[in-house]
C-alpha cells in the first residue's frame, strides 16, 4: 500500500497541472451537460439568469448561525447562479425549470474531475495493458457517474423542490416511486462512487508498481 501511495504521490507531482485541468473541466462541463439535458428535455432555451452574492451570503450565514456544526450544510446549499426557463403564461411568470450552480457541488465535481484525471494518467498506455485500461475506464466511469449523478443541481417548481440529485433524475423522466426510494440513498451512492474511484486509482498504482518491479527484474536478468 505504501508503494502504491508513493506512486500516486509521484504521479500527482508530475501531472498536477493536467489534473487541475481535469477538475476544472469536469466541474464546468457537468454544468453545461445538465443545461443541455434540460434544454433537450423541455425543448426550450433558458430565458433568465440570476447571479447571487455568494460571498456575502456565506458571511451572513457564518455570522448569524450560532452552531458551527450547522454552518457547512447551510453554506452547501447556497447558490451562485440560477439559469432557467420562466413561463409568463401564468401570473407574473413562474420558473418551469432551472439549473442552479452551487459552489459546494462544483467543489465536489472538481474533486471528482481531479480523481478522474489521476486515474487517467495512471492508466496511460505505457503503464497499463489494454484489458487493464478497459477495466479501469469502466470502474472510473461508474464511479464518476455515481458521484456526478448525486451532485446534479437541476430543479423545478414543485412544492418543497430544491435542487437535489433525485429531482434532477425525476426531471429527466424517472418515476416518482423510484425517485422517492432513491432519494435517501444519495449519500451512499456518492460515497460509493468516490470509493470506486479511489479503489481504481489504488489498483492502477499497484499494477504500475508491479510492472515497474517486473521491468527491473527483467532488465537485471
Amino acid at each position: 500500500m505504501r508503494a502504491a501511495l508513493s506512486i500516486i504521490t509521484r504521479q500527482v507531482r508530475r501531472s498536477w497541472p493536467r489534473m487541475l485541468l481535469w477538475g476544472l473541466g469536469f466541474a464546468v462541463l457537468s454544468q453545461v451537460f445538465m443545461l443541455l439535458a434540460l434544454v433537450a428535455r423541455f425543448g426550450a432555451l433558458p430565458n433568465y439568469v440570476t447571479f447571487y452574492d455568494w460571498i456575502g451570503n456565506v458571511v451572513r450565514i457564518i455570522t448569524s448561525t450560532p452552531s458551527w456544526a450547522d454552518i457547512p450544510p447551510i453554506i452547501a446549499e447556497e447558490w451562485l447562479i440560477e439559469v432557467g426557463r420562466m413561463n409568463y403564461d401564468y401570473g407574473t411568470g413562474i420558473s418551469v425549470w432551472s439549473l442552479n450552480v452551487i459552489p459546494s457541488r462544483l467543489l465536489v465535481l472538481f474533486g471528482l474531475g481531479v480523481l478522474i484525471g489521476l486515474a487517467a494518467s495512471l492508466a496511460r498506455r505505457e503503464s497499463c495493458s489494454a484489458p487493464e485500461r478497459r477495466g479501469a475506464t469502466l470502474a472510473t466511469g461508474a464511479g464518476a457517474v455515481l458521484v456526478a449523478m448525486t451532485n446534479a443541481t437541476m430543479s423545478w417548481v414543485v412544492c418543497c423542490a430544491t435542487p437535489t440529485w433525485v429531482v434532477g433524475l425525476s426531471m429527466m423522466g424517472l418515476g416518482v416511486s423510484t425517485s422517492l426510494a432513491l432519494e435517501r440513498l444519495g449519500p451512499v451512492f456518492s460515497y460509493l462512487g468516490f470509493a470506486l474511484l479511489i479503489a481504481t486509482i489504488l489498483g492502477l498504482a499497484l499494477r504500475k508498481r508491479a510492472r515497474q518491479r517486473l521491468y527491473r527484474e527483467t532488465t537485471h536478468a
Binding site: R60, W68, E77, Y90, V96, V158, V176
Partner: protein, 457 residues
Amino acid sequence: MTFPILRTSLISAAMATLASTVSADTISIAIGHQSMCTDTYTAGIVVKELGLLEKNLPHDGKYADADYDVSWADYSSGGPITNQMMANKLNFGVMGDYPLIVNGAKFQETDSLRTLYVAGTGYNVKGSGNSIVVPVDSDIYSIEQLTGKEVSTPVGSAAWGMLLKAMQDNNISTADYVLKNQSPAVGAANIAAGKIDAHSDFCPWSEIMEFRGTGRKIYDGSETGVPYLHGVVVRQDFAEEYPEVVEAFIKAIYQAGEWIRADPMKAVTEMEGWTGVEKEVLYLYFSKGGHLTLDPTIKPAWVDALKFDHEVLVKEKAIPPLDFDAWITEDYAKAAYADLGVDYEAEKAVTVDPKENNAGLPMEIWHARDGVSSYPDMPAFLTALAEMTSTGAKLNASYVYDSETGLKLFGKTAFWVKAGDAYTTFLRKGDAESYASANGGALITFEDAIAEFTAKG
C-alpha cells in the same frame, strides 16, 4: 467546537460591510412570499402592496429610534423560502401546509436554528384548493376512471398529499396508475395539450385551467376532508429579538383579510394587477362563499391536519421529525389580536364549512362594465344571464354553488340539471346524474339553461 477569534473577525468583517448600507438602528425585515399561491396573499402580496406591515410597525420603547428596511422576495414555491430562511436572508416565510412542515422539520434538524409557526393566512376546512383536473374534452369524469391512467402532480406539495389520500380513499393502489412528478406550469400546459390524463395541483392552478377552458375538475380536495391551510413561519431568533415586529406582521395579515372582505371585487381586481392571476379566478377564492376563509388563528384542527401531513411526508419522503409543541405558538397572534381589540379565542372557535356557510348564498354574474351582481334564485340568475348575453354584453364570469359540497363554481364549468322548473348545479358529473335520475330531471348544458330563459324573454 468554537473558534472565537475567527468568528469575531468574520462578524467584524460582516458588520463593516453592512455598516456602509445600514445604520445601527435599522431593523431589516425580509419576507418570502408566493404570488402564484392564492392562499398566501393575505400575508404576502396584499400586505406588501398596501404597506400594511409598515403601518403596524412599532415606533415606541426600544423601537423609538428604529428605522425599518422591509424587503419582499417572491418565490414560486415554499422550498426555496425555507433555504433562504436558513441562510438568514429571510426572516418570515409564507407558504402552504406541506412546505410549512418541511420548514419546521428542517430547522429542528439543526443544532441551533428554529422557526416558529405564528399565524395562519386562511383555510378551507374540507381541503378545497387542491384538486384533480383532466383535459376539458376528456371522457374521464370520476377519480375511479383514473385506474391505469397517467396522473401528474408536483410531488411534495399539498396537492400530492391530497392525491395520495384521494386514491387510497377510492381503493386505487399506487400500482394501478402511473404517477408523474410535474411542475404546475408544465402540468397545466400538458392538460391544455391533452398530453396527460390528469393533473393534480394546488391553488389556484385548477381554477386557472377551468377558467381558461383547458381543464375540467373531476375531484375536489374537499372530498378528502383534510383541511388545506397556509401560514406564516418566522425565525425564532428574529421573533425573540423583535416580538413586536412579529405582532405587527400578524396585525397586517388580519387587516389584509378585512380589506378583502370589505370589497372582494375591488380587492381581486387589484390583486390581478399585482400577481397576474385572473381576477375571476381570484374571486372564486376570496369572495363571500369562496374557497378560502381568511383567518390567522391557529385552531386545534389545523394542528391535527399538519400532524397528518407530517406523517405523509415522513412515510413518503423521510423528512425529519417535528416537535409541533415547540414549533407552533399562538403567543404572537394573541398579542396582536389584543392590540387590535379583537377576541382571538372567539375567532379561533369559529370554523367555516362551505356546505353550511354557502347554503342560500346568491348566484353572481360579473359584468365586465358593471361589476358583480347577485341573484337570489336560479330563474333570476338565468334571466339576467339571458338578457346580458342577448345584448352582447361582455361577461367576465358567473358563479354558482355545488349542491353537494357547497363549493363555489364557475357557472360555465358546473354540471347543470333541470328537474321540472328547478335548476341545480354540481361539481361532478356523477352527482348530477344521480340527482337527475332521483328527481326525474336531465343534464343540460349551461348554454341550454340560459337559452331557455332567452326564449322565455
